[in-house]
């Protein structure tokens, strides 16, 4: 893509009409809970937007986030929007390798210093000097700190970059942390999820291109437009929860009737994400529609929250074993104290001076 091209020109070249583009902007405005009138503003801003430089750093991750973004459904306006950014460095997607790849990153960082967007997926290992994940001989920590200095803003894509994710799960052998644990002086937006919803990634990028700033964020740094409500709030099975109708197994009558999956471990009530509204695979559905409970992947520490199949009302740790040990200890203590009491009583009885008739007479 030529450097001076705008999005509208680019979309026109790809056969996307202006009408389709406006429709997309209206959908984007709705999705991000912006007023309908802002669709025009988005269209105007996006159509004139120049492609910003984006550097995508992949650390301790599984590439699922990139897969989500690039393979979810193709080709769409979202993927074309993604084309609109100048992705100057991305391990998986770039053709260059080795020194050439690292050189591209260095050049982009110098050329767009203070202006480029830094996208990060994967957590950063800190233990043992960060040796558990290195790129071109440099630790992830070193690379992130260098790249963050010149970034206008940072987007932490996926739960690993946002909250530490799987590498951070107990016992966290690599000392993995989130981007926000390292970078404190730059605006960071967390797009959590394992993986995150592709349209949420593109939505945040579009917001940045339109307004020149990151969207409103919740207390965990996630865009409120997508993470403002829980899966449970927007779940189509919610009426069954309110009626107390729950599937007990994955193949019982309740499951066939589409009843609530709470007792099968659904974490929808405590999970903030847009799955139930935005959905996946071009709107085809989301996990609960496929008959499986939400696993809570867009929340911190979701790997450590007990089994995916344990209901939220049940303990996340082994309470029965603790209770058994406690009962034995309590009973043992009671028996020991009972024996002490008995011994004390016997001792007192033995040492008791017997009252005689003579005592009573006062002789």
């Amino acid at each position: 893509m030529k450097e001076h091209e705008t999005l509208e020109q680019r979309l026109g070249e790809q056969g996307v009409s202006r009408r389709a583009f406006l429709k997309f902007c209206a959908a984007l405005a709705t999705m991000m809970a912006l007023p309908p009138s802002s669709a025009g503003a988005i269209a105007a801003a996006l159509s004139q937007a120049k492609r910003p430089s984006v550097i995508w750093l992949s650390f301790q991750e599984c590439t699922g986030c990139t897969e989500s973004l690039t393979r979810s459904h193709s080709p769409t306006l979202e993927s074309l929007i993604f084309d609109m950014i100048s992705l100057d460095y991305h391990h998986t997607l770039q053709a260059a390798s080795g020194h050439a790849a690292e050189q591209a990153r260095d050049e982009a960082m110098k050329a767009f210093y203070g202006k480029y967007l830094l996208l990060v997926d994967g957590s950063i290992p800190l233990k043992d000097g960060g040796v558990y994940s290195t790129i071109a001989g440099r630790t992830n920590l070193d690379m992130l700190e260098e790249a963050a200095k010149g970034a206008a803003a940072i987007v932490a894509v996926g739960s690993c970059a946002a909250f530490g994710g799987l590498p951070n799960a107990q016992p966290n052998p690599t000392g993995a942390v989130a981007v926000s644990d390292i970078v404190r002086d730059k605006p960071i937006v967390n797009i959590s999820g394992c993986p995150p919803i592709p349209s949420v990634i593109t939505g945040v990028l579009a917001h940045y291109l339109t307004f020149g700033e990151l969207p409103a964020l919740d207390e965990l740094g996630r865009p409120k437009a997508f993470y403002g409500e829980t899966i449970h709030d927007r779940c189509y099975r919610r009426p069954f929860y309110d009626q107390g109708k729950f599937a007990k197994t994955f193949d019982d009558e309740g499951a066939r009737n589409g009843w609530c999956l709470y007792e099968l471990g659904c974490k929808g009530p405590t999970t903030h994400n847009a799955c139930a509204t935005t959905k996946w695979n071009g709107g085809a559905g989301f996990p609960i529609e496929a008959g499986h409970g939400c696993i809570g992947c867009s929340e911190p520490k979701f790997w450590d929250a007990g089994s995916f199949y344990t209901p939220l009302s049940a303990p996340a740790a082994d309470v029965a074993a603790v209770a058994q040990v406690s009962m034995i200890a309590g009973a043992g203590a009671a028996v020991a104290m009972g024996a002490l009491d008995r011994a004390k009583k016997q001792k007192l009885q033995q040492s008791r001076e017997k009252l005689t008739v003579a005592d009573l007479k006062g002789d």
């Binding site: 107390g244 344990t310 303990p315 009973a331």
Partner: protein, 219 residues
């Protein structure tokens, strides 16, 4: 620690601590109580200790007609609270899922409507009992801090549970954390306060009945 981490803690480590304190404290207290035993009577009783004990355990459920109006209010409101509390605790589907996870077995749940009624009745009875305790001069004089503490410890799980099912005032994650934490406080306090009556009530009823059933010695 964010909201999710706090929830994980109360569902995991916090619950383990509460369960350990509750089970250890309660098994110690009850067994120790029983091991104190009673002094062996060398004389043959005229009545029967066991018959008297068991009869009193049953008959104390039906003392309403013999009570003063004040006692009747306490009795009725107390029953409404206890029944509402038990139905809510043992027949809400989410609670049965908890028992199934801990004990390995469950039982059928009551419909949500029935649980709603039982929870509201229990809450209303508790508020009425507290008001009565504060208004009635004799009850107020007899009450100490522990009575108010155990009232609060029993009231909070019901209140937070009711709010949780409807997501009133706070988010689900916050309400679930508060609900579980309030239950944990109840469990931790139970062995060391008058809440221990949940296990000792029938022991003390039997004791009173047994003493009365002795009826002196045979002649």
């Amino acid at each position: 620690m964010d909201a999710q981490e706090l929830l994980i803690w109360v569902r995991g480590t916090g619950l383990q601590i509460a369960a350990a304190v509750f089970v250890l404290g309660m098994s110690y207290r009850m067994l120790h109580l029983l091991l104190i035993g009673r002094k062996k009577s060398l004389a043959e009783a005229r009545g029967s200790e066991w018959a008297g004990g068991l009869r009193t355990m049953w008959q104390r459920n039906f003392v309403l007609p013999r009570l003063s109006p004040r006692g009747r209010f306490t009795f009725v409101a107390g029953y409404v609270f206890h029944l509402g509390f038990f139905v809510t605790l043992f027949f809400l589907s989410q609670h049965i899922a908890l028992f199934r996870a801990v004990f390995g077995f469950g039982w059928p749940a009551l419909p949500r409507g029935a649980i709603d009624i039982s929870a509201v009745l229990a809450l209303a009875a508790m508020v009425a009992l507290l008001a009565h305790r504060l208004v009635d001069p004799v009850k107020r004089l007899l009450s100490d801090y522990q009575d108010y503490l155990t009232w609060a410890l029993s009231f909070l799980p019901l209140l937070t549970g009711f709010m949780l099912l409807r997501e009133i005032a706070f988010e689900y994650v916050t309400l679930l954390t508060l609900h579980i934490a309030s239950v944990e406080l109840l469990l931790i306090a139970a062995p060391f306060t008058n809440l221990a009556h949940m296990f000792s009530t029938f022991i003390s009823r039997w004791y009173n009945g047994a003493v009365m059933g002795f009826k002196g010695i045979q002649t």
